[in-house]
């Protein structure tokens, strides 16, 4: 068989084309995600306000008068609402991821002339996906009457800052990115069991899967770098050159863990 499944290794223009297709898909997915958020916000407003007033959801007054009352009450319940805190913490994790990928792309071996084009393209696209996740989470926070979270997660900001001086090669950058993606995936997997509506469970489960995908690719990339074979990081990869263990290094867990998930309050706006 040939080295790869589908023809020659992509060069820069080929990757650009692939990225364009991917961004179209990404835009479609984000539109769908916003619909989920809108549905969630409507449901959460109704159920949370009803709970705060000791009412069943069906007892809410619908219409202009009801909407006014609901709007004025939102900031009050948002302040201590678990859903809002979870969304703010999620936004803080995304903000940190965006900033970290930004730093990485400023390094010559990730975003500069000496970078592997696949790694560079991956970092760019992943940063954009994290930006969109942050916007989505903050949009929901805002609609629920909470304060948008534009700061990075404080716990992991300290960790990222401690690692910055060590970012002297692509392996170190990949290791840091793996840690952040894993925290995000673990947190959102845990959040699925913490939030109050099906729409929000779907949102967090859907985004957790994407962060896990980022982690899978980064694990494979880091393994190839550490193994001294960065030239094998290519699209499509040269399959018959890859070491056996590269086939499974990207998905180490049968069930995604949650023991390192951030608590709901970690990135909440005080």
């Amino acid at each position: 068989m040939s080295d790869s499944l589908d023809g020659p290794v992509l060069d820069e223009p080929g990757l650009a084309c692939l990225m364009e297709e991917s961004q179209d898909l990404h835009a479609d997915a984000m539109r769908a995600g916003r619909h989920q958020l809108d549905d969630y916000v409507a449901a959460a407003k109704e159920s949370s306000f009803a709970r705060s007033r000791g009412l069943g959801a069906g007892a809410l007054v619908v219409g202009a008068a009801g909407a006014t009352v609901l709007g004025s009450a939102l900031p009050a319940f948002a302040a201590g609402n678990t859903d809002v805190q979870v969304l703010q913490t999620a936004a803080s994790i995304e903000n940190l991821a965006v900033a970290t990928y930004g730093v990485a792309l400023g390094l010559p071996f990730i975003g500069g002339g000496s970078a592997n084009p696949v790694v560079k393209a991956f970092a760019q696209m992943t940063m954009k996906q994290h930006q969109d996740h942050a916007k989505g989470f903050n949009a929901a926070v805002k609609q629920l009457g909470g304060k948008e979270q534009h700061n990075p997660d404080p716990k992991y900001l300290a960790y990222v800052n401690s690692q910055k001086p060590k970012l002297t090669n692509a392996s170190a950058v990949a290791g840091l990115a793996i840690a952040l993606e894993d925290v995000a995936a673990q947190t959102y997997t845990k959040n699925v069991s913490q939030v109050s509506t099906g729409d929000l469970r779907q949102l967090f489960a859907g985004v957790a899967g994407v962060e896990a995908q980022h982690k899978a690719i980064l694990l494979a990339v880091k393994a190839l770098i550490d193994g001294g074979a960065p030239q094998l990081i290519a699209l499509p990869p040269k399959l018959n050159k890859l070491p056996k263990a590269a086939g499974s290094v990207g998905f180490p867990d049968t069930f995604y863990p949650t023991k390192s998930a951030s608590p709901a309050s970690e990135g909440a706006v005080k």
Binding site: A216, A229, K241, L242, K244, A245, T254, F255
Partner: protein, 264 residues
């Protein structure tokens, strides 16, 4: 070409095995948490299954009115934790022992079985040389992924068994014949990877759908913990196919396999 390119396995295997050992320890920790979720799910659903049995005839009527589940005939057993539901064709939905959350559990078990069978078929064909020389990394991928799907299936079946319902040991799904046919007709590893990618994507989306729609907290947590793993399988397959490995910002549910696809 460098010596490293000529013999890449010798270069990286030791380091990767060391990484794998560390990850194995993490895996055992996460398994303890999952087992706790599954045990609590089993306890709660066992009670639900008993009450469902008494309401089954009433529910059959409701489902028929709603037009749910126009399914093919199937070979499934009808009772007991030691019984099994097998086959790829099904009985009318009205005779299904699985209701509500338990139907989603059975669907999940069937999907996992389909994945296990699919990768088994591929590995068997590969051994016979059907795809030419198979790269070691691809064989490793199929072997480990198949094992993970087996573990997922066993977890879901333990819930069914605990609830006193037949375990799903076959692939009683409307989508199974097409998937098996596609795998059987695959001539190259590329063909195989495309089918496998479709199955992994469908599984990931089905678990996202399940996390949003089942009512039991243990079921929600378990579905949420499996969805990312299937998504990771999909990302690696996309990479193998030379496609961008994380094309969407959200896993989505438009490709989820619906409970009505279960024919047991």
């Amino acid at each position: 070409m460098s010596a490293r390119e000529d013999n890449p396995i010798a270069i990286t295997e030791g380091e990767l095995i060391s990484m794998t050992r560390d990850l194995d320890e993490m895996h055992h920790e996460s398994m303890r948490e999952v087992n706790g979720n599954m045990a609590s799910l089993t306890d709660r659903l066992a009670g639900i299954a008993q009450s469902q049995a008494s309401r089954r005839s009433l529910l059959f009527g409701s489902l028929a009115v709603a037009g749910v589940g126009v399914l093919a005939a199937c070979g499934s057993s009808s009772s007991g934790g030691g019984k099994t539901a097998t086959g790829t064709t099904g009985s009318p939905s009205g005779s299904s022992p699985y209701m509500g959350d338990l139907k989603v559990v059975a669907l999940a078990a069937a999907l996992e079985n389909l994945a296990v069978a699919g990768y088994g078929l591929v590995l068997s064909n590969a051994t016979k040389g059907a795809y030419g020389k198979v790269p070691p990394a691809i064989a490793e991928f199929a072997t480990v992924v198949q094992k993970q799907h087996k573990d997922h299936g066993a977890a879901w079946n333990s819930v069914l068994k605990g609830a006193g319902l037949p375990q799903v040991t076959g692939t009683p799904l409307t989508i199974a014949p097409q998937a098996v046919s596609a795998l059987k007709s695959a001539k190259t590893l590329g063909d195989v990877a495309k089918v496998a990618r479709g199955l992994e994507s469908a599984a990931a989306q089905t678990y996202v759908f399940a996390a949003a729609n089942v009512s039991d907290s243990g079921g929600i947590a378990t579905a949420a913990s499996i969805a990312p793993v299937e998504a990771m399988h999909e990302a690696i397959l996309l990479f193998v196919l030379g496609q961008y490995p994380v094309p969407n910002a959200d896993i989505g549910i438009s490709g989820a396999v619906q409970p009505s696809a279960l024919t047991a």
